[in-house]
Every structure is written in structure tokens, then in C-alpha cells.
Symmetry: C2
Subunit: 460 residues, 2 copies
């Protein structure tokens, strides 16, 4: 392994140049801009790094597939995305978001932490093997989508269709890195997502508010419907909503108890008196990592400008996201939401799903793959990694963990100050180098994976 790490030490600056070139490609899925150029660039880059790469058109923006057989037929699949968040508000960037800038040992650009840095770190690790040994210790595959930042609407169908092509033994996800103490963090799950718009309709037109005596107001209807969904104590009142929430295993509870989530720092940074329900300590962490949510993302009705306008609006809308946890299913929650509204007298409230849903997924803590990734972290960082059962965010991991039955771990080049999705997104170059070495170590340690486990480790 030593020669691999030395290669990375000697050549990471060249990879950073490639990363900068990559970050000059906008590729903004939400706005549909720069997609083709990003695909073309990345395919070319992956080929430069020795990966056999092709573009697989799907229903939405294209998927990029890459593979490189290694000495062993044990196969590691990398999940990534080439799209980035919109850069707005532009005026808050210190340098233009698509002009990558190195400063103080950091690299600033839109997408550099989420997740172009991850992709190039993976490529660097592979090149190190190819240059020093001429081959990889295990086989690798890449699946890189272009719609992660808009909810990955086509991943599930793509994975179903390309089930055989994507066959592998384990999956390394994008996203993540180290914590404020520079400990490597390995997340083992992602929450699911159901995103809906609720709409209440009233009269055929907005009216003078003196008609509020007799004309139903959809803003009130919406208020009452929302109130029925979640109560003041943050209990989600949809019948059966919690039925499939998996109780935390003892090991998960132990793990959560041991990790630090910067609770007090977060509270102060957000100028909050307290968190919901006043949770602190273990409760705070367990709630954040393990619990589903029902969150109002937006409310809109009637007059919202300055001062007063006496209007009775004829439509009111709420956008809501539900973050789901194992073993909830988004289609089941959607059906339950409809039944809830109907049985509470809100048949008139329309439900309009705004994205394809995502199911939650978690890799079991006792999966041998978790040991592989954790041991590789220990070797590279010289520290015990922090294992976290799930991120609080969402992603299409379910297709990989359940459809492909792949144990999945999330590691990356970011640190807690990276500001993904925000102005001045950046990574620390040292994190990039260490993550490339971590990937290299995972590839090496995967050689013993099949022996250790006897068979590919899926998810129950």
C-alpha cells in the first residue's frame, strides 16, 4: 500500500487541476443548463483515468456508466452525480462559483464538495493503482447520475433496468467526510423522501374580504388540514405513520450515544432558545438521525406584499416534505396522507406529489463491508472513524441497498464548513488527499471482503 499512498502524495495536485476543470462545468439540473457539456467532460476525464466509460441515456438527464476489472472479481460500485445545485445568490460568493479558486489550502467552487471532489478523489485512487501496479486489487464500477440535486427521479427505474450491469458486492456513496474534530465519518444510510403540495381551492376568483362571512376561505381550509397532520407536540397524526419505523437496535443506540453532533454549536449558530420538544443530548442525536419528519417547506395564499389588502383568496398551497426512515415507504405514506385527509373531512384538499419519492435505506452495522470501510479509515486517518447509522438527508440509496442488495457506505471529501448548496462552497485540499487515500485503502481491503463474508452482503 505504501507506494499507492506515495503516488497520491506526489500527484494529487494534478488531480486537483482536473477537479478545477470539472468545476468549470456548471451542470445545473434544476435549471437544465450545462448538462451535455458536463457529461462530455466527465466521460472524457474518466477515460483519461483508464475507466471504460459510456453514456446511458435514461428518461431524464443521462447516466454515465464506467467499469474497470481488477485482479479480483470482487466489485465495488461507486455512486456519484455530475449535477450541482444552482449557484444563486451569486453576490454572496467571494469568487465566481464556476471559476474554481485555490486559497489558504482550500478549493472553492460550486459542486466541489457535492460531489465533484468525491469523483476525482476516486479517480485519483484508481490511477495510483494503475500507475504503480498496472491493475486494481478489485473490480470497480461507476454509476453517475445527473439528477441528484432534483431528487433523482429516474434512478429507481434505471437500476431496475440495468440490474445485471450494476451487479457488485458493495457500494461507496458520495457525500460526507470528516467532522469538526477531523475524525473520519462514515454514514451508513439515507432517509427517504415524500414531497407533496397540498392545495385548497375556494371561490372561482379572489374576493373582497367582506365576503368572508359566507364564502369559504381556502387559506383556513389549508390551515385546518395542516393542523390535523401534525400537532403542537410534533406528533405526526397520520394514522399508521410510525407503524413501519424500525426501533433503534441496541448497537445503533450505543453508536448514537458515542458520537458528537455539535449540538450546542448548532443551537447558538441558529440563534435558537431550544430545539423541538426541548431535546438535548442523546434525544437530540437520536431524533436527528433516526426519526422521520413532516416539514412545511412553503406556504402561499392571497396577498403577501407590504401593508394591507383585504382579500379573500381563492387558493392556498403548502409544500411539505416528509423525510422517511426504515422501513417506511413513500407510496404507503402518500396513501395514508390521502386517507388521513379524507377521514378528517378534508376530501377537498388536493395532494400533488412534486417529485418522485425516495425510500429510506440503512446498511446494517454488522455488515462486513462496514468493517472494511472503517478499518481503511483507521489505517489512513490514524483514528477510529465515527459510524453514523444514517444521514438526516435523503438520496436514492434504496435502489442500491435493496434492489441491488449492496451494503453501502457514505464517505467523501467534505468537512462541516464546506457549505454545500450554499455560497462559497469549498473543500480543504488535505481532506481531498486523505479521502483519495481512504478510497485506495478500501479498494485494497476489499480483496479480503468475499472471504470474510462468504457471500455478497446485501441488506435484509
Amino acid at each position: 500500500m505504501e507506494e499507492i499512498h506515495e503516488y497520491i502524495d506526489d500527484h494529487w495536485m494534478e488531480a486537483v487541476e482536473d477537479l478545477k476543470r470539472f468545476c468549470r462545468q456548471p451542470g445545473i439540473s434544476a435549471q437544465g443548463t450545462g448538462i451535455d457539456e458536463s457529461v462530455e467532460f466527465l466521460v472524457e476525464l474518466m477515460r483519461e483515468y483508464g475507466i471504460q466509460t459510456e453514456v446511458l441515456p435514461g428518461e431524464g438527464f443521462p447516466f454515465i456508466y464506467g467499469e474497470l476489472p481488477g485482479e479480483s472479481r470482487v466489485t465495488l460500485l461507486f455512486y456519484n452525480h455530475y449535477d450541482v445545485q444552482p449557484p444563486e445568490p451569486l453576490e454572496l460568493w467571494s469568487t465566481p462559483p464556476f471559476e474554481p479558486t485555490v486559497y489558504d489550502g482550500n478549493l472553492r467552487a460550486r459542486g466541489v464538495s457535492d460531489d465533484k471532489g468525491d469523483i476525482v478523489a476516486r479517480l485519483l485512487a484508481i490511477r495510483a493503482y494503475l500507475e504503480k501496479r498496472g491493475t486494481l486489487p478489485v473490480s470497480v464500477k461507476f454509476i453517475i447520475e445527473g439528477e441528484e440535486e432534483i431528487g433523482s427521479p429516474h434512478v429507481a427505474a434505471f437500476v431496475e433496468k440495468h440490474h445485471d450491469l450494476l451487479h457488485a458486492d458493495a457500494c461507496i456513496w458520495e457525500c460526507g467526510g470528516v467532522n469538526w474534530k477531523n475524525q473520519p465519518v462514515i454514514h451508513l444510510g439515507l432517509k427517504g423522501m415524500l414531497y407533496v403540495q397540498l392545495e385548497a381551492r375556494g371561490a372561482s376568483t379572489d374576493l373582497h374580504s367582506s365576503m368572508a362571512t359566507v364564502v369559504p376561505n381556502p387559506a383556513w381550509r389549508l390551515t385546518w388540514a395542516l393542523n390535523s397532520i401534525k400537532d403542537l407536540d410534533e406528533n405526526i397524526r397520520i394514522e399508521g405513520f410510525y407503524d413501519d419505523v424500525r426501533p433503534p437496535a441496541d448497537e445503533e443506540r450505543r453508536l448514537i450515544d458515542s458520537i458528537s453532533l455539535d449540538e450546542e454549536e448548532t443551537r447558538q449558530a441558529l440563534s435558537l432558545d431550544r430545539f423541538v420538544r426541548g431535546v438535548t443530548g442523546f434525544e437530540y442525536k437520536a431524533r436527528h438521525i433516526l426519526e422521520p419528519t413532516c416539514n412545511i417547506c412553503g406556504l402561499d395564499s392571497g396577498y403577501t406584499g407590504p401593508g394591507s389588502k383585504t382579500v379573500l383568496p381563492n387558493v392556498a398551497r403548502a409544500k411539505i416534505d416528509f423525510r422517511l426512515v426504515p422501513d417506511q415507504r413513500y407510496d404507503d405514506i402518500l396513501a395514508r396522507l390521502r386517507r388521513h385527509l379524507d377521514s378528517n373531512g378534508f376530501e377537498d384538499i388536493l395532494i400533488d406529489p412534486q417529485t418522485e419519492g425516495e425510500n429510506p435505506a440503512r446498511t446494517p452495522l454488522d455488515s462486513p463491508f462496514v468493517s472494511v470501510v472503517a478499518e481503511a479509515a483507521r489505517e489512513v486517518y490514524g483514528l477510529d472513524p465515527v459510524l453514523v447509522p444514517s444521514m438526516a438527508g435523503s438520496g436514492p440509496m434504496y435502489s442500491f441497498a435493496h434492489t441491488l442488495r449492496l451494503p453501502t457506505a457514505l464517505i467523501g471529501v467534505a468537512y462541516p464548513g464546506s457549505s454545500p448548496h450554499a455560497p462559497d462552497e469549498h473543500i480543504r485540499l488535505a481532506d481531498f488527499v486523505l479521502n483519495a487515500k481512504h478510497i485506495a485503502a478500501v479498494l485494497q481491503n476489499m480483496t479480503s471482503y468475499r472471504q470474510a463474508s462468504g457471500k455478497p452482503q446485501g441488506v435484509p
Copy 2:
């Protein structure tokens, strides 16, 4: 009287030319445009009609005061306003809103029905007396404000300050006219108004919605607070909210029972299945005329654009109007709202009044002035007028009815199709002529007013 009505018949077209000139002055209080020009024009016009007129600056846009002593010292006060609603959306007007257009016996222009037509009809009635008799049967005063369309924030203080100047025996308000059956309608009251913005605040910034596990969401706080204010059955839950609502007198109930409010036409025009609580018939009318409301005018929080954005907003706002009825008081309701929120655990919800409040007012049905105005209507229209205890809308009548103790009646040049506040606002010229004659008849009948009542008739 005959010569007076003949004069009006012979000369109304000249008055309509003056009305058209008046309607060429925008005078939009909400936008602060054209105010000075409107004041200048109207002062000049009133002087042309023989009224002694002056401008009385107030805290906001100026008031216009006019007076003309008549044969009797009995004095009728006219309340009007020279400001108009903004004309937008301009593209929905058949002709430009400030280019008055006669078509099919109608006159179309912004402000022509609300309330410039009322003002000029009053001037025409006065000119008829001056031309035919050289004097008025009773004395008249005019008070014309420039902020009616933005909630009359300075009327109360102005009336307090100019109490003596405005001394009179009765008041004719602007607004109103005939119903779909061409019966003259006399409204005898206006509702009050409390307009507030409720604001809930959360973290110091918008957050990724994965933080909804632990960070309070102000959109939920607002939803729960609103829900506590009014329940699904339209009961306003603020303690004591209904305490001062005056139960309808038998005579009011009888009156309401006898009038028609075009209930079915309204339901169909608005494409409604039913009205709130399913009210029909007497209940529908009584609710519309006599009941207070709590109406959501606007809701605003977080992301309200197309598609999805997973955001946890840091602020949520609702604009609410309360229409108040005798004997509710807006300052009392505001204090009760604060207490309600506090005692329901919503100390965090901010209340920001968006306008100066207005108290409700109604003239008692047995006031002799009501007989004067009703009898004049019978003489002119040849029909029994429809007496309505109150409009569903609001205005600063309280200052006149209570501070000045003036019995007050609302009559005007409009008909139900006039579209005040909307594109293609217009009046029918025949209504203008009949209203001028009605005003003339009121002036004549006021000569017997003092004798009949023995003393000026205020409001209890």
C-alpha cells in the same frame, strides 16, 4: 320640488362632463400618485358649484372641507373621498381607466362608482336649488378625505380635532345605489376593521429541511396559532370575541328577512357548492350583514415557486382581517388576540397591526333620519327602498356616528354590476340622475327633520 327635478333632467349631462373631468385625475392613495392634482381639481369644482371650500391639511393626505348655509340651520353633512383604488390589472380594462368613456348609457372610469359619481351627483342636486331658488332648503357641509381606499387612518383624529366645524344633524355617506331589481338600497351601517400580520420566527436563517428533526419550523408554529384562533366550524376562539356583538333587534331580523341578497346568483357566480356552515336564506343574509369575521388575507413562508425545494423556512407570516360589528372595538379585539396567543402558548407569535383600526357603526332603524332618506327614495324611485342594517364592508363611519353623534345613511350612484375596485368600473347614467334627485329630495325633506325629532338624532 318639481322645478328642482326638472333642472336635474335638463342639466345632468353638464354634470357628467364635470364627472368625466374629475375621473381624469388618478388620485391613487395606495400609490401616493395624483393626490395634489385631485385636491386642486375638486376644490375648484366645488367652488364652481357654489360651495365654500378649503383644504385642511391633516397628518396624511389633505382633507377637503366645504359648506353652504341654507334657509334652515338644519345641517346635512356629506362624507366622501377623492382617492381611488389602483387601476391594475390594466390589460383587463376595455378603455383606459383614466380616460372616462360613455357607452350604452354607462360611464366607465376608475373611481366613477366609488365615489366620484356620488360627489358630483351631490353637487348637481345643490346647483339645482341654487339655480332655481337661489338657496338650499337646509345647510350642507362636505368632508372629503383622501385615504378611504387605504383604511382612513387619519379620519378619527381629524374628526376629534374638527368636532365643532363638522357639527351637523345627520350624515349622508358615500357608497351604494340600487339592487339588481332597481330598488333603491339604503345601508345604515359599516363594519369595523382590525388588520394584523402574525409573524412566527425560527432559526436565524433558512435551513436544509433535514434539520426539521430538531429545529422549530415557524410555518408550523403559525399554522398551529391560526388553528387556535378559528375552528373548523368557523367559531372564532378568542376569549370574549363575541361578548360585545349586539344581538339583532327584532326589527333588524324582520328587515333582513324581507330583503334579497341574490344568494343563488352569488353561489353560482363563485362556483361554490355551498356557503360556510351551509347557510342559506335568513341565516345567509343575517350572517353576511350582522356577523364579524376573521379572514386570512395572505399566507407566506419559505419556498413558493414551482416544483420542490427542501427548505426549513425561518419566518412565516399571515395577514388577517377581522370585520367587526357593533359593539366590538378594534383595540379591545387586538388586546384579546394578544392574550389569546399568550394563553395558548404562542407568546412567540408577533402581532403587527397593518392599518389603523376602525370601529363598527350602525344607525338605529328607528332614527327619524332613516325615515327622511327612505321617504325621499319613495318619492324619486316610486318604490319602497330596501333598508339594510349594515354593509358587509368597512369604513370610518364610527367617527361620525359616535364621535359626532350623527345618524348616517349610505346612498350612491352604483348598481350591483358597477365593479368598484375592479377593471371596467362603471355607472349607469340613469342611476346618476336618480341619485342626484334622491339627494335633492333628502335636502328638501330635511327641513321637517328637526321638527319631527325635536332634537338632533345621534346614535346611542
